[in-house]
């Protein structure tokens, strides 16, 4: 115990789970310590009802202190199911081992253990100011909860941030004994109410009621006293409560406050538990995190001779772990705050969305936990495809007929198999999809990676071979990289084009090659580079202007980057010409037999630059508010729609510019809504690149959260990429209603080989055609 000589007296502020457990563990590690826990409440008083732990947490408690582990687990109620009550149905998903215990019981166990070890407990004593802790101990542990006085005293060092959630909640109890962790979603004339409830001893359950602040006001709960609030909730959930009352423990309607601290230590003072961090109760882990802090702090004190280093190691160990948890909690909290968005999903998808909200449970995890649940979900999704009921459903649930709805799942005239007969079903990403009458074999779009090898827009045999090879990738759709609608619409001189007659002939050959090999559909991405044009091929980087490039066009005379050529602000003639270029390209694509068109309105290319206030500074009717910024892109969309007749037409859109004053996801959702009314069948969600200064966050599935919002907010079918390379990732996106189609574009070494070794693919092709 190297630290024995330096630390004798320990003061712990707060006798919650963090303070008590830490007192116990420190004393156990070093019995010579003189430890005092100061708690403002009397011994038996506490707020709250029960808390829950996952099985993983328990293993740590076992190792840290076996006797209390035994006592805690003896008092546990353990269950493994989550019930979701929604839309008049109950969905149960098993395999999530969860244990509950009364907060009171947990504190009793810890208090007794502290007592038995000789940790001094002083109840009904308030820590009020620095005089109460400065100089009275060698180590001061601030475990005084979410409103920590000690944290506030050193706010300059800890730099705490407190963020209040948007929803109102109240923490109640009931004698109704539940059989599972239970989520209830209840529509009322005031708005949506949701319940997080779980059993924690043989006789009682925690019952947390939550709703949006407006809902809370509309229901008059802002002016209601405790009894009225209880009565309101009791009658609302009378059925689920089975006649039992709700109980209050000085409970109030409050907003959840997320606490973060930049530093967790200051001299000999250290933050623990809720004083250091909180995580939204919907992932039920505050007590777990508090007790894990205690374990980590004790371990660090045992390991490092120097107190300062021990505290530093404690912070280093815990802060990243806690922040990861807080990120999951944030995702979960935001989902609950925006639950309205998802209440139109069919029950199975709704349940799946809820279960995977924190992004920590994959399709494969879910299948391991409860194969029956996942099988059922697969069948339900498959049946919905058959009946034309929205498996992708976001678009249809508003009640609109699916004649024009993007998620009409069944091609016209196809017979609908009765859903009840379905016994086996493929996993979600392998379900077919119908895009404006065009049947796609599955939900996966394989996009070709760009090569910049065309001459004057004309693609060569290598490009044809590469695309044809993708036809046998198994994906339902093969999509091209951007294809320019005019010579000056090219990003680089090597861009493929669709603006000369021989271009159309080359694309017709691609279409024939794809058709000859599979049932994959072929989609062409039409683009005008705008102010990002006349750049060099991207072998050595992006947006490197050509020495003698062509004149650029844009909404405003703003170069893409400092020192880049200045685009000409488009006048009416320029706009007419660009629009006509798109239309001619669409006609050519039509003649070439292309199945679907994808209109690029993102990443700062011409149409995208009109949409974003970062690139569009016009003061006429094409700039300024959203409606104006959308005007030109919509003129193009309308004209292309007319020329393209009744075939699938999709749009790529930035869901965020990743930049201040740029497009954000709310605005993008509004755009998606408008695009849909103009005949756009699905929206691809992109982010960034409107300027070179965007602050991106890349990683696996980095576009998924944006896709989720756009799809469910705007109720439009979405296509989501963002480095999805595993089918498991795609299944869960479809199953949870976060996307309708997944775009994959893997960056792998084999991909490069394919790209740089055309003779191989060509010879393959030759073999196959004989």
């Amino acid at each position: 115990m190297p630290w024995r000589d330096r630390v004798r007296r320990v003061l712990i502020a707060g006798g919650g789970p963090a303070g008590l457990y830490c007192g116990l563990l420190l004393k156990k590690a070093n019995p010579a310590l003189d430890i005092t826990i100061v708690e403002r409440n009397p011994a038996g008083a506490t707020y709250g009802w029960g808390v829950v732990f996952s099985d993983r947490t328990l293993a740590e408690f076992r190792e840290a202190d076996y006797p209390t582990y035994r006592e805690i687990t003896d008092r546990f109620v353990v269950w493994d199911a989550i019930d979701i009550l929604y839309g008049g149905e109950r969905r149960r998903c098993g395999g999530h081992v969860i244990a509950g215990i009364a907060r009171r019981a947990l504190l009793d166990i810890l208090q007794q253990a502290c007592d038995a070890r000789g940790v001094r407990l002083r109840f009904q004593t308030e820590i009020a100011g620095p005089a109460d802790w400065e100089g009275v101990a060698d180590l001061v542990i601030a475990a005084d909860g979410v409103n920590s006085v000690i944290r506030r005293a050193y706010a300059r060092v800890f730099q705490p941030s407190l963020r209040e959630g948007k929803a109102k909640y109240i923490w109640l109890g009931t004698r109704r004994v539940l059989g599972a962790f239970t989520f209830i979603f209840r529509e009322t004339p005031f708005g949506l109410f949701q319940v997080h409830a779980y059993p924690y001893d043989g006789a009682t359950s925690t019952f947390i009621v939550e709703c949006a602040e407006e809902t809370w006001r509309r229901a008059g709960l802002d002016v209601a006293d405790e009894a009225t609030s209880l009565a309101f909730c009791e009658s609302l959930f009378a059925e689920e409560l089975g006649g039992q009352r709700l109980m209050s423990n000085n409970s109030k309607w409050i907003n959840f406050a997320t606490v973060k601290n930049n530093a967790w230590r200051h001299g000999n003072v250290v933050l623990l538990g809720d004083a250091a961090h909180t995580a939204h109760f919907s992932i039920g882990s505050g007590t777990k995190l508090a007790m894990e802090d205690a374990i980590a702090l004790t371990r660090a004190c045992e390991q490092y001779p120097d107190l300062e280093q021990a505290l530093a190691m404690y912070q280093m160990e815990r802060k990243p772990a806690v922040e990861a948890f807080q990120e999951a909690a944030r995702a979960s909290r935001t989902d609950f705050e925006n639950m309205r968005r998802y209440t139109g999903l069919p029950p199975g998808q709704f349940a799946c969305h809820l279960l995977t909200r924190s992004g920590r449970i994959s399709y494969d995890d879910l299948r391991l936990r409860d194969p029956l649940f996942v099988d059922g979900l697969d069948r339900e999704l498959a049946a919905a495809v058959g009946t034309g009921r929205a498996a992708g459903g976001a678009a249809d649930r508003s009640g609109a007929s699916d004649a024009t709805g993007p998620s009409g799942q069944r091609a016209a005239g196809e017979p609908a198999p009765p859903p009840s007969r379905l016994e086996v079903a493929p996993p979600p990403a392998f379900l077919p999809f119908v895009l404006r009458g065009l049947r796609l074999e599955n939900r996966i779009i394989r996009r070709a990676r760009p090569v910049f090898a065309a001459r004057d827009g004309l693609i060569g045999g290598e490009e044809l071979a590469r695309l044809a090879a993708l036809a046998t990738s198994g994906a339902g759709v093969v999509m091209t990289a951007p294809v320019a609608v005019s010579a000056d619409g090219r990003i680089t001189p090597g861009d493929p084009g669709m603006y000369r007659d021989d271009h159309a002939a080359a694309w017709a050959a691609v279409v024939r090659a794809v058709r000859g090999r599979s049932t994959a559909r072929i989609a062409i991405t039409l683009n005008h580079a705008g102010r990002r044009g006349a750049a060099r091929p991207r072998a050595e980087g992006l947006d490197r202007p050509l020495r003698d490039g062509w004149p650029l066009l844009g909404p405003s005379p703003l170069p893409y980057a400092p020192g880049h050529p200045v685009p000409r602000a488009m006048g009416r003639t320029d706009m007419d010409r660009a629009r006509d270029d798109f239309v001619r390209a669409a006609r050519q694509a039509h003649d070439a037999g292309v199945d679907a068109l994808h209109l690029h309105c993102g990443h700062g290319y011409l149409l995208g630059s009109f949409l974003s206030p970062l690139a569009n500074r016009r003061t006429d009717e094409y700039g300024g508010r959203l409606q104006n910024r959308m005007r030109f892109p919509l003129e193009v969309l309308d004209a292309v729609r007319a020329a393209w007749a009744d075939r699938p037409l999709t749009v790529a859109l930035n869901a965020t510019d990743w930049e201040r004053r740029g497009i954000d996801v709310e605005e993008a959702a509004e755009m998606a809504r408008v695009l849909k009314t103009h005949g756009c069948d699905a929206v691809e969600v992109l982010a960034g690149q409107t300027t070179p200064d965007s602050r991106p966050a890349y990683g696996r599935g980095f576009l998924t959260p944006y896709g989720d919002v756009i799809r469910n907010e705007a109720r439009v079918a979405t296509m989501v990429g963002g480095h999805l390379t595993r089918t498991g990732e795609m299944h869960i996106l479809i199953a949870a209603g976060r996307a309708d189609l997944c775009i994959t574009e893997p960056v792998l070494s084999e991909d490069v080989e394919r790209a740089t070794d055309p003779p191989f693919s060509l010879s393959l092709l030759r073999l196959r055609s004989h």
Binding site: R538, G541, L542, G699, E745, V747, S749, D751
Partner: protein, 280 residues
Amino acid sequence: MRVGIGLPTAISAVPGSLVVEWARRAEEGPFSSLGVVDRIACDSYDPLVALAAAAAVTRRVLLCTMVVIAPLRNTVLLAREAASLDALSGGRLVLGVAVGARQVDYDATGADFRERGARLSGQLAALRAAWEDERIGPRPAQAGGPRLLVGGTGNDVFGRVARYADGYVMGGGPPRLFARMADKARAAWADHGRPGRPLLWAQAYFALGDDAVDAGMRYMRDYYAFTGPYAERIAAGLLTTPQAVRQFVQGYAEAGCDELVLLPAVAHLDQVERLADAVA
């Protein structure tokens, strides 16, 4: 995956002759590259000058900076030094750049620590431009100039990799962490519509042999003292046995690394042979 070895340029009191001899022996070994790190405020050699010396006694191995703290330097001079080194070595330079982690290096050179990220972005574009500028010689031996890698772990790093560079270089950590970073680099690469894929490089420290472990650990603690309590954690990652080296190499290979450069924590020439035996 290929394996390179670092030159002992950031270990204090290493004679210049030893650095040169180290390079000579590495050329004979199974190593594909020679790497150097960059620190200003410390007893260490300038990375590009050290690589120039190494270039003179080698023909085969790649010469790489892991990394040069570019914002400390004048961009045109850096471009010119890099072009010279590339030309002198017959096109063997791989230029890794990053913002670095120590403010002391910024203080020592008078560079602005707070502006380092934005400055690096600007420099990346300017380096390529300078290599193509006929008025600034010499011409690099590699078409388009030396391969450019960007290091670091922050979010902005991957945008820079994809927008300006040829790949990513990671400064240390277990294979799992590398796999995560590699995924970010690939995600950014595809998102930016770059053809092919990013180069993926990484580094780690070694000290092999019972007699070297203590000195190696001391070096690590000292070298990373600026990270405060993290130093201990980083030091614990030092590879001290052939078995550990092989496992680490394997882990990185599986995570998709192209080139792993193992840097010495001890400046004894026998370390070159010991590492050669371990990775052979």
